[in-house]
Assembly symmetry: C2
Homo-oligomer: 199 residues x 2
């Protein structure tokens, strides 16, 4: 990577953390500069059209962090029922703020999207959420095809259920700063998977 590319990546990484905590629409370029210690010229040099361009790059980066992590986990977990459980476990990593402070970037941005119809970020967050839902749906569908998941399972219902409850569980655990809420959701999903989904 060139020096310029490194700086660009650093700006995106730092901005993603600020946006994820304070919201894309609630954060100004002045906030980004203050929180990251970057100077205006330094940012605009890489993001000529300003905040929206940086916001889109930061959102893409934030989402790529969690989807890359999912891909890494799936390398060693092959059975569809185990993949469903592993999908849930990855959400626990959103709680400790190590990679990206502020919880799940997809949910956080989805909550904001409602008030800003037509903004390019709204399409982006829909695509990211659809990628999460599709991931669960495909695990179930492939699992049925391979005889790993019970054939009567409705893949779309499982996708909606997993994503809703995990996002909601992250929200509760962040609110109380207590991982037990998400853990209870994971316990339920694991039990449901073992009792009703595993073939």
């Amino acid at each position: 990577m060139s020096k310029g590319e490194e700086t660009r990546e650093m700006i995106i990484r730092e901005a993603a953390a600020v946006f994820n905590r304070f919201g894309y629409f609630g954060t100004s370029m002045a906030d980004i500069m203050r929180e990251t210690g970057l100077e205006k010229g330094g940012i605009y040099n890489h993001f000529r059209s300003g905040k929206d361009e940086l916001a889109l790059a930061a959102f893409d980066y934030a989402f790529s962090v969690s989807s890359n992590r999912m891909g890494e986990v799936f390398k060693t977990v092959r059975h569809a029922a185990d993949r469903l459980i592993a999908f849930g476990e990855v959400f626990k990593e959103l709680l400790d703020d190590r990679v990206l402070p502020g919880g799940c970037p997809v949910m956080n941005t989805a909550i904001e999207a409602d008030a800003h119809p037509g903004h390019p970020l709204v399409n982006r967050v829909r695509e990211a959420m659809t990628a999460q839902l599709d991931m669960v749906q495909r695990i179930v569908e492939k699992g049925i095809a391979r005889g790993e998941i019970k054939p009567e399972t409705d893949a779309q219902t499982i996708a909606a259920m997993f994503v809703s409850s995990l996002e909601g569980g992250v929200m509760l655990s962040k609110l109380y700063n207590d991982s037990r809420y998400l853990q209870r959701v994971l316990d339920h999903l694991r039990e449901h998977t073992e009792m009703h989904l595993r073939a």
Copy 2:
């Protein structure tokens, strides 16, 4: 109600709708004035210390709307298993924006709370979320005591599961403007209640 009280109520109602769509921290008094058509003096006359005071009153109002609705539904639904299902069904009313635009005020504010530790609104949203969780937990505990719910049921897990998945389901359905996501969550919770919770 006196004229002054009526005006105060009207300001709270209108402000609650703006805050719920745009966020408490992302909304300025200027936004409130523009969106509600109210004048600065008119608002400060009732909320002398400004935005925070109005925000707290608006949040309390928004939460009271949904908890009153819950209380109304429970007047005619007595069996604990039916109450669990009815608790979920009330979340559907958050989708149509008739009472309060912008989805669930408790979840929306919880997402914002993370970035504002120590703000009085953070305690308020924790209390409101705890009231939701306690409501489900008490339905289960009373149901066990009355022989309506299986005695081995873990009330805290059910509370976390119901609230997480319903809040997440509202978020998905708002994001796509498609009620089917929340409906899939409701289908799962109903099935789980009938198969595993009803005694």
